[in-house]
Amino acid sequence: MLMNGSQTVGEAAVRAGCRYYFGYPITPQNELPEYLSARMLDVGGTFIQGESEVASINMVLGASVAGGRAMTSSSSPGISLKQEGISYMAGMELPAVIINMMRGGPGLGNIAPSAADYFQATRGGGHGDYRTPVLAPAGGQELVDLTFAAFDLADKYRNPVMILGDGLMGQVMEPVIFPDFIELADLPKKDWILDGCKGREPRAIYSMLLGQQGELYKHNLHLQEKYDRITAEELRWETKGTEDAEVVVVAYGTAARIAESAIEELEAEGIRAGLFRPITLWPFPLPPLRELSKKVPRIAVFELSMGQMVEDVILSVGERAEIYFHGLPGGIIPTPAQVAGFIRSAVKGDGTVGRRIDV
């Protein structure tokens, strides 16, 4: 099927069993709620245009605690408003899928694609010691696959999961293939949901832990143990042409696709550049990048922000390889030729495009 990225996510979500969508319009992701407003009618699901992002994420919280596969979507400023609810859901261990089709910030910024919400997405965004897995598709078919994966991850770990795309990815039309609808009845049973206490003891789900016996302390250790498990078991990344590469480009999402084209251009010049594309941004695929950095002399980090993921790259690489960084603020999508210029300069170590990071 030929669809834009936002619609792709919408269709994938429905097929992955999402029957509850709550959201508030914001460009550049409106095609997603618009698509689902019609699609939920077809499949007997619920679509509510909430009165705000704050309300929408809390409707997600309610639907999740009641046992439904629930989702919301937004773009940068809207995600800021959802952070309180995401923190509560992490604390209460409730699954949900949150789509962020990033735009330029800070503030109202602009509606052009950007990747400037990496820190917010991977570092929590809301208050407290919590983490949300963040999946970064590069568009197209991966939007489908990662939407399915996001719902499964959310349920498996009882935790909110974010898909971090951008406005470009949301609006570009690409051919995609959808898996069949999953059978809701086949999903693993949730034995913790709230559906009235008939035949069992009443349940309460909350994140306020006042107990003097270190209840909150224990809960946070329990959450950390879960995050450690996710870090050990759920890393995703992709490499291309990294064997014998003289430079490896690290980029995610739309930036990775531009970098891929740049790498192809450089091939003709005889420059051997590889690509390392993190797919989980949290947990960051640190061990494989660390291994790679033992074999390649130079790592070139390219981001559609002024430098956020580069910090995770620095943590992964340390002094094992030289790190070069090139970042662009949101709103301008560079051509592959521009990115090739950066890679070339990183290979020469001359720093004419981007800069070398001293670790």
Binding site: Y20, F22, T46, I48, G50, E51, S52, V54, A55, S56, N58, M59, V60, L61, G62, A63, S64, V65, A66, G67, G68, A70, E84, G85, Y88, M92, L194, D195, G196, C197, K198, G199, P202, R203, A204, I205, Y206, S207, M208
Partner: protein, 257 residues
């Protein structure tokens, strides 16, 4: 041969309440309101199909006292959370229990819009004209002249605005089928409150729309009064700003007097 005496239980703990002592101050309206809610749920046989959303405020621990499923909501967001629950379980009974700070300040948007969507949810609104939990700051419902820690010298309309009558505001919305304001200051008024709560619950059972019962509720601690003085203050002062009675009723129910 001694005669076997038959006892009939005429009063006891409602099943919808746990056997847990509450943390509420002496004379606080929350404990009375809890009991009324529990009695109504019991009488309508709803306990096992109820999912409740307590507020952030003095009743934040209500899930320790109520004996049915409950979920915490962030401050003010109870009606959004309840909306999500009700959409997943349209056949279950969904209840929010909220203070004036929760429902009429930080959660005003959620309140107005859930009501306007006509969500099949029942809301108990505890109006004690103050922020109880955080120590007596001004609420949107604080009455003119009333002292609060953040309104030294009393609420002044030019400085702080006038008290919000959220129940009357909600009544103009088409999604709202029943709103009544009652008080928790005397046996007579408490009886009326119970009837109102039961009727609000019935609205949800009959799929009519959104229903809310506002309860004028004493907060002796933050009003800095004895329980008795606080009850008198509800009856004598608070009702002047918030007159008691049915504010909206389009249920078509015939009231059995």
């Amino acid at each position: 041969m001694s005669e076997q005496i038959e006892y009939t239980k005429i009063f006891g703990r409602p099943e919808s309440l746990k056997e847990t002592p509450t943390h509420y101050c002496p004379g606080c309206g929350h404990s009375v309101a809890h009991r009324l809610v529990a009695e109504c749920l019991d009488e309508l046989g709803l306990r096992e199909k109820t999912i409740g959303v307590p507020p952030v405020g003095c009743a934040v621990l209500a899930y320790n006292y109520f004996n049915f499923d409950m979920v915490e909501a962030p401050h003010g967001r109870a009606l959004a959370v309840a909306t999500g629950i009700k959409r997943v379980h349209p056949d279950k009974f969904v209840l929010t229990y909220q203070g004036d700070g929760d429902l009429a300040a930080i959660g005003t948007a959620e309140t107005i819009h859930a009501a306007n969507r006509g969500e099949r949810i029942s809301t108990i609104f505890i109006n004690n004209a103050i922020y109880g939990m955080t120590g007596g700051q001004m609420a949107p419902t604080t009455i003119l002249g009333q002292n609060a820690t953040t309104a030294p010298g009393g609420r002044d309309p030019r400085l702080h605005g006038s008290p919000i009558d959220i129940s009357r505001m909600l009544a103009v919305s088409n999604g709202v089928v029943f709103v009544e304001r009652c008080a928790l200051d005397s046996v007579k008024e408490i009886r009326k409150a119970k009837k109102a709560i039961k009727k609000a619950f019935q609205c949800q059972l009959d799929d009519l729309g959104f229903a809310l019962v506002e309860l004028l509720s004493p907060c002796p601690t933050n009003w800095k009064m004895t329980p008795k003085a606080a009850w008198d203050w509800v009856a004598e002062e608070m009702v002047k700003t918030y007159p008691l009675g049915v504010i909206k009723d389009i249920t078509g129910y015939e009231d059995k007097k």
